[in-house]
Amino acid sequence: MHPWIEALVALFLLLGSLFALIGAIGLYRLPDFYTRLHGPTKATTLGVGGMVIASMIHFSVSEQSLSLHELLITLFLFITAPVSCHMLAKAALQQKLPIRPGTGGQPWEQ
């Protein structure tokens, strides 16, 4: 494989795993449940996105035929991540999980 393409694959792999790690750090560090929602739902979708792009480039070059089926994973994650995130936020609001002091605004009463 051409070294430049290999470098590109390596770059996307590193970016992807860094975003996945940052998402997990957010999940661990952030102070309350609602802020914790932000870490994984965003960073991990892009994390997997980076991996998938790397995989697409790698297999398209190494097998010399277009390999796009990894796109399905990203597509599916982009559709489902907001849904599960919304469901979890709704459940948390209904269970009245503690909100970090200093949070502006109010969730409405249901």
Binding site: P3, E6, A7, V9, A10, L13, L14, G16, S17, L18, A20, L21, G23, A24, I25, L27, Y28, F33, R36, L37, P40, T44, T45, G47, V48, M51, V52, A54, S55, H58, F59, S62, E63, S67, H69, E70, L72, I73, F76, L77, T80, A81, V83, S84, M87, L88, K90, A91, A92, Q94, Q95, L97
Partner: protein
Amino acid sequence: MLSLVIPLCLVLIGLAVLLTLARLFKGPDLPDRILALDTLYINAIALIVLFGIWLGSNIVFEAALLIALMGFVGTVAVAKYLLRGDIIE
């Protein structure tokens, strides 16, 4: 170069899985744990795609896609159970 980068990426994602596991055990509430499980399956997808590149084979792609499908259904089912006390009404 890839033979060097891929183990590094494995370590990074392994760390992410450990942090997620810590949140899974720490809680403190049920939605936190569900969110941790959700993150865990997304990390598993990343690991499997990485493993596929390492093997140089496309054969693990279906496994990653299946985890994406089943993980989503699982998360929504548990979240709905929390919301309604029932999954299929």
